[in-house]
Symmetry: C2
Subunit: 712 residues, 2 copies
């Protein structure tokens, strides 16, 4: 169902309308009137007859005409009853302002549940609760007072009203850009992030979507929609709540679980979202994407009128991994002819005072640089806009002409230009002109550079073909019925853990290379199994009550010979019972010793926001100390598994380090796909942990496998 | 010699004085007049009689009175002759504005050399060349036009005029702070960074020193002075020129070698300098340090009037490793009583609308938080200053009262308070009041957080006892004469490499644990030596022409038995000659095989700016792939060697990882000290490379040692 009636209502009722100027029930009506809402406004308050010149209604049901949206400003406990009235009135949606729901603990959580059930039963969509509200600038439907001028191009989804206020203030003070919609997501009780996203993706006026998020309730659905949306228009996102204190803060104000933030960050990026790390970058990144085409290749050129800024810009752009353009011989010669002797004409270009007396020189340089084929984007850093302030008042006029020329060059050539000016706070007219031509101007070198990198990143995203997760299930038909039996068996015994042989059997069913091994239930049987393998064996306890086999010491490696095997069997049993006297023992697993190779770890976990997540790393210090692992939210594509293998820092170890052979990356990739297929195929699975998996030059072997199930 | 006559001149001559308004020779005189320089101004130009109402002189020598400072605005090639005149006139110093010296290549470098020699011979100190100039605000001695108001507290040393302009603009637009001195360092031909630093350290009006540096010519001297200065007043520094493109840019504009930037960064920090990574943070960090006392312990409390800003501030402060305060039960109860139900009273504190109608509530919270013993610093984030804009116009007045109260609390309690306000660009009076009380206000959450971390970092520095480099030279008396002989021998043979036995002998002389080993010059001698050791031996070629022994394959490990040793000897010789037919062979080194242990790498290198640098890391992937090494500029203290060992990421491996024994960190520390002592004792040494050093539970063994010498 489209959210259009909710987002662009023709009629709005305000429940809890008030004549007290400090109350939301007053302000909502006041701002609707002030901003010129193009529709009917119905105050609802049983105690009033008129408010702000409007007739006041006893209840939503008393209103004669149809009502699209209801703004509820009364306390939390009154909300479910009001929603029932909304349902009876065929209201499309309600903005629930009050806090005191999920973010307030247990009783709030059940109140929120009641709210959602009532709303769903009655077909009323809920924005919030615990939200600052929403604004449809297109309809002048503003219940908050985010006054702005100009045609909107940006939409904002935010879990913080303060952040919204900050962005609106920044937009009006420092740019010529305006918004189409603002939605305060609040607790996301009913309408989720991805539904708003769909709505904004389809809105023709919204060119860029800005998101401030602390936690999402359905991250997986969001990622899938984001994947599609970013092909059409950019999404710029800031994630709050990385730290312990930040998570506590997020929890107390939106009831959000801030979630594994490394997973979130990489998942968002992979969906083509521009993730900024810094709240200062959020608006500039969106402004730039709404103003300029993304970079289509080539590198960035830097044009400066002083060395320091050139140096800093080059450093920052390098840190941001933006390629620095190599200028053509022709461009360099032309610059050399135009500029004084001290000028630098290799990128970064420093005019070294060559424009101090004539800012048109900068426009000449801009033209040369933008026309250079190797230049995909140009960054101007320094004083532009301030020549009339710094050097001589009459330079204002050639400076303004230079701005016109630069702006028209950008239009003609379709290449992005971003300008840093330390005179931006002085608001010289030349900079206003640049903004008129959609050339963004910043007073921070770092932010200007970040905006260049955003254009590079989004350009690259658009050039990358979309990949699909591949779930081919080569083994499904054969495997699934058998696999289900294994899980059913564990469930019937009330277990939340597969025994190691069960876990390996499940993997084997799905085509994973598990070493041949069998469970012995007596010393003699163990010896017999061992005799069937060549060479020494590994022996491990099989017990649903012993999760950590090493800790229990119920494990023996490198056992060889009949007597040794029998003795090992007896010792393992003894250790297991010493570790836990009431442990239920299924036997002892006997397997051939794996030949030495490189140990890797593959696993899956459930993320609160994104569901199953796949993890890969190299065993030992790399994972345990350096935390050098890669993550992907499932499902994954073949390409994603290749990237997972390549993006860990210690990936060099797989390529053959210090005379070691190269390791079978293809086999790792296959196993990563298999593991994700298994998690997808059996929703009962909570966690898989293959540790270690030994990787050889050809092939690999899963030495230990642990599979945990969700509680029934 | 003090720079006082240069920095605070009573008389200034401008050579190259001009009536052309776009020329430096005009502007320098104009701004001296405009700013009301408290001394005599002498234009010098043989073609003019009067300029700007002042009498013009044919040359410096024609001026009747004494001249302290000469500003030279004429081209590079004219400068040495003018300096000669300055010397004859007993001028204290000259500002050389022209470029075309070292930064311009070979001919410029020799011109600069000529300039320095002339100046030193004549006792004239040089600022620059290639500088934007200098300003002594105390004397209104301004030859640039950095107009400002208020009493100066900040001094600026900068290798970029643009950066200076940016900082002055920022100071005047966004703060109430002003400067005492500005010095454009330029090419640092004569007066070096550390001399300016000394001058500013002793200036009573300068409270904070700001430095923008791309490269230093005498970094070691600078570090030593900085070490002392930061005990008296803070230094805030930004280093430009980290990247390839940035280094190129720095080279072209100051002729500076941008140097190993990781070394620079950590060396600066260790000297107690506040190193900022971001040009946006440079001024705010300095402003904060000039305004507030450093943190004396405790954690930071965050006070917000909205959840989003609280969350972001908590994240950023955590990233910056600032401890987050735990509030006392008493504070939390008091906050709870004061604030509405939805408020968060654990740090971060979110008033959750509780101040919307009365900003005095914020001042009440500030008081509670600053009075909490666990709170060492308070950060207020959100809307403060904008209540009169956002909520109701008349709130301006209680908001101003709240500002007065907050300001006086800071004065009374001596604890720092920093305020973030998204309304800062609107310049409300309440924020001006905060600044009057020396409470800094920023419109960026990230920058406000960074300023908190700066106070924490500087506070910690002041609490840390200064450590002295310890060069005890236990072995010096005995070692030095013998050591010098080894080096003399190499020098006499024209070698820039010590043979391995020589290098190890030098180490042994200084008390380093080198395994017993001897050089054999025949297969028989090799067998004899090997027989003297228990167990297998390692055998390596000894040749001044073979630097990379492994590559030459002239090395055999684990050799045991007379025949095997003899054969190995012959094979090593064969491999060595196959690798390089004309290699001069001194023999084959025979040493007992080192028992297995953890391999570490210890080395020294010469940094362009800081001289000898000591390096430590764990061998193999840690150093080679993950680049996990620690650095220190020499000389080092015992404490510094401990820190070097602890600060690598893989240090856990030394503590005993996965059942491995803990390694002898004390022995590593001793060897680090020994190596630095050796480098200090023999200035001929260019590079030491001990790789690997095998570390055991007790003790260590140096398996391979390479020592390179400077070319004679």
């Amino acid at each position: 169902m489209s959210l259009n009636r909710v987002m662009n209502p023709d009629s709005v009722a305000v429940v809890g309308a008030s004549r007290n100027e400090t109350k939301r029930g007053y302000k909502a009506i006041k701002t609707l009137l002030d901003e010129g809402f193009e529709g009917s406004i119905y105050p609802v308050n049983p105690k009033e007859e008129f408010l702000l010149g409007l007739r006041c209604y006893k209840s939503v049901l008393d209103i004669e005409g149809p009502v699209d949206l209801v703004v509820i400003t009364t306390p939390a406990n009154t909300v479910p009853a009001i929603i029932e009235e909304c349902a009876a009135k065929n209201v499309a949606g309600a903005v629930v302002v009050a806090g005191g729901f999920r973010e307030a603990g247990e009783s709030g959580t059940s109140l929120e549940q009641e709210l959602v059930e009532t709303a769903r039963a009655g077909g009323v969509r809920i924005i919030g609760p615990n939200t600052s509200g929403m604004v449809s600038f297109k309809k002048h439907m503003d219940i908050i007072g985010f006054h702005q001028q100009g045609k909107g191009e940006l939409a904002l989804l935010s879990q913080s009203g303060n952040m919204a206020l900050a962005l609106f203030t920044e937009a009006s003070v420092k740019s010529r850009k305006a918004f189409t919609y603002y939605i305060g997501i609040g607790n996301e009780a009913d309408i989720r992030f991805h539904e708003y996203l769909d709505f904004l993706a389809n809105d023709p006026d919204t060119r860029v979507i800005i998101i401030y998020v602390e936690g999402m309730r359905d991250g997986r659905e969001f990622l899938q929609r984001a994947n599609k949306t970013t092909r059409i228009k950019p999404i710029v996102l800031l994630k709050g709540g990385r730290s312990v204190a930040g998570t506590r803060s997020a929890g107390s104000h939106t009831g959000a679980l801030a979630g594994m933030s490394e997973v979130a960050r990489s998942a968002f990026k992979r969906a083509g979202i521009i993730v900024v790390e810094n709240s200062d970058e959020l608006f500039p990144a969106a402004e730039t994407l709404a103003s300029l085409p993304p970079m289509k290749g080539g590198g960035v050129a830097i044009l400066a009128d002083g060395g320091g800024h050139a140096t800093i810009a080059a450093d920052v752009l390098t840190d941001l991994r933006v390629p620095i353009a190599t200028l053509s011989e022709k461009t360099r010669r032309a610059l050399q002819e135009m500029l004084p002797g001290g000028a630098a004409v290799a990128n970064p270009v420093d005019v070294a005072g060559g424009a101090d007396g004539d800012p048109e020189v900068l426009a000449d340089c801009v033209q040369l640089l933008l026309e250079d084929e190797g230049v995909g984007c140009l960054l101007v850093v320094g004083l532009f806009g301030g020549y009339g302030i710094r050097f001589a008042e009459e330079l204002r006029f050639p400076e303004e002409d230079a701005a016109h020329r630069m702006g028209k060059l950008v239009r003609r050539l379709g290449k992005p230009l971003i300008v840093h000016s330390l005179y931006s706070p002085a608001k010289p007219h030349a900079l206003e002109l640049l903004r008129y031509y959609n050339v963004p101007v910043y007073d921070s070198v770092e932010i200007a550079c970040r905006c260049v990198s955003v254009l590079a990143e989004y350009g690259l995203h658009l050039q990358t073909k979309p990949t699909r997760p591949e779930f081919t299930f080569h083994w499904e038909e054969a495997a699934l019925p058998e696999g289900k039996k294994i899980l059913a068996q564990a469930a019937s015994e009330g277990r939340e853990l597969l025994l190691e042989p069960e876990a390996k059997e499940l993997l084997r069913l799905h085509g994973a290379p598990v070493t041949a091994e069998r469970v012995a239930t007596s010393p003699e049987e163990a010896a017999e199994i061992a005799a069937g393998f060549n060479g020494p064996v590994a022996m491990k306890i099989v017990s649903q009550d012993i999760l950590h086999k090493s800790e229990s010491r119920a494990i023996k490696l490198n056992v060889e010979g009949e007597q040794a095997v029998k003795q090992a069997y007896r010792r393992i049993l003894k250790s297991a019972l010493a570790y836990r006297a009431d442990a239920r023992i299924s036997g002892v697993l006997v397997s051939p010793m794996a030949s030495p190779g490189l140990e890797v770890i593959i696993g899956t976990k459930i993320d609160d926001q994104f569901g199953p997540v796949l993890m890969f790393g190299i065993g030992g210090i790399m994972v345990e100390i350096l935390n050098d692992v890669s993550f992907r939210v499932l499902p994954v594509s073949k390409k994603a598994t290749r990237e997972m293998i390549d993006e860990i820092k210690s990936t060099t170890l797989l390529n053959g380090f210090r005379g070691q052979p190269a390791r079978d990356k293809k086999a790792i990739g296959r196993l990563l796909l298999t593991v994700s297929e298994i998690v997808e195929a059996y929703p009962q699975i909570k966690e898989i942990d293959l540790n270690p998996v030994i990787v050889y030059h050809r092939g690999l072997g899963i030495v230990d496998a642990r599979i945990l199930l969700h509680p029934a």
